[in-house]
Symmetry: C2
Subunit: 257 residues, 2 copies
């Protein structure tokens, strides 16, 4: 494994092309104004701009970064295979997706070997549940890699509330709502503040857990943090099924210990 | 308490000055390039720019924002009182600090009442253990407030590592290292990934907890994430006493559940 901070796997023979750098770039949570200056610069400088997306759309990360992408750049849209016909728990689904990631990494490796650095756009932050990981883990032993951090959706969502997310000695738990009920409760129990992501159809289970922990009164439901269509409501008013890009924020109490 | 998303406490009588808006602005963790476009714009547009700092320096937030502050703006340096002579646990220390925050809020209220919006610079993100809270909590009932989120130091630090912070169904705990040992362990126990802030002299205690939880091998010590002087080392190589702006990052394992 490469030493931290350098991500440089080895030396280069004289006369060969210096490989490009694989750069995961956080675009921020949705509003293009919440991108960082560094992200914009790295996107504009990159010979190749890559991004994961679903068939039929170029996806959120590409939309957010649009103003910084220049006509001369090579774009690599890494389009997820359509897998509606296979249940997500099936081995064949996982095999299909993993094969897709292998192929995506190979496409980017072709550019890197040719000396063309690749900027992989990632909503939010590349190292925070980011799609960047799928190519990063496959390529990091062979190529230099860098990560440009970004603003994450939990903070964009919390910014809509009248109370800070964490203060003083509050602890914060960030958890996927898809966890089994007992593990969700265990992850939230010791914390004063929490953010629950990937809500989907999990709200009934999540409500039970928050009720048992006495956290419901501090819980807010936020859809599409930082988009124009932002909606902020107490958990009691959240819909039955939550759309993608929605999450729950439980703000802290500012405990002193 | 104001409804979420609006922070608007009431209506304005015709003929009176419309009060200014109190805006907490995240400057990011240290590198000015990691500020967002929105933060830069809000700073440049604000009649008044305020920031907390220690005596003898204008502090990190002001340094990070420097390029966006214009000659014509009013600057309010909110300078912490010198309290070296009082132990921090003493009631008189707390009274002194709280009186300082009351006075800081009053100074900003003068501007807001006169119709001058105030931008309060906050390292990282205003709602993430931010100093913004001290004036926000005192003023939010009287004035409109807004928060511009920012890149937080845990993500700037994690970006230096060769492995993502959280993947798949990992949970993340963010905790202050100053917690009593039993509570620190309880907060970290259920998580796959963690960030421990406010290290100071807490490393011996923290090491014991991480050893008991089997997390030491995945723990990295990072100083001044995003400054030129960044240092990334395994926990085993961390110094006895950690300087300010240092933290520990334990990356996740990408568990599937």
């Amino acid at each position: 494994m490469s030493a931290p901070g350098t991500h440089e796997p080895g030396t280069i023979e004289p006369g060969t092309i210096e490989p490009g750098v694989l750069c995961g770039v956080g675009t921020g949570p949705g509003d293009p104004e919440l991108m960082t200056f560094r992200a914009a610069r790295r996107i504009g400088e990159a010979p190749v701009v890559a991004y994961f997306c679903k068939r039929g759309t170029t996806g959120q990360a590409r939309r957010i970064a649009d103003a910084h992408i220049r006509p001369g750049q090579i774009e690599e849209a890494l389009v997820y295979p359509v897998t509606n016909e296979i249940a997500h728990e099936e081995d064949s689904y996982r095999e299909r997706i993993e094969a897709f990631f292998d192929e995506a990494a190979a496409r980017l490796a072709t550019h890197l070997e040719a000396g063309r650095s690749v900027c992989v756009l990632n909503e939010g932050d590349p190292y925070f549940y980011g799609s960047f990981m799928h190519v990063h883990l496959r390529l990091r032993e062979r190529f230099r890699s860098e990560v440009v951090p970004g603003v994450i959706s939990p903070l964009a969502a919390a910014a809509q509330l009248p109370t800070p997310l964490v203060m003083r000695d509050d602890t914060l738990s960030i958890v996927p709502g898809t966890l089994p009920e007992a593990e969700l409760e265990a992850a939230l129990r010791p914390a004063q503040a929490a953010v629950i992501m990937k809500l989907g159809k999990q709200l009934p289970k999540i409500r039970r857990v928050l009720d048992r922990l006495g956290l419901s009164a501090r819980a807010w439901y936020i859809e599409r943090a930082s988009f124009d269509e932002e909606r902020v409501r107490p958990l009691a008013e959240a819909p039955e099924v939550a759309p993608y890009f929605s999450l729950l924020v439980i703000h802290g109490e500012g405990v002193r210990r």
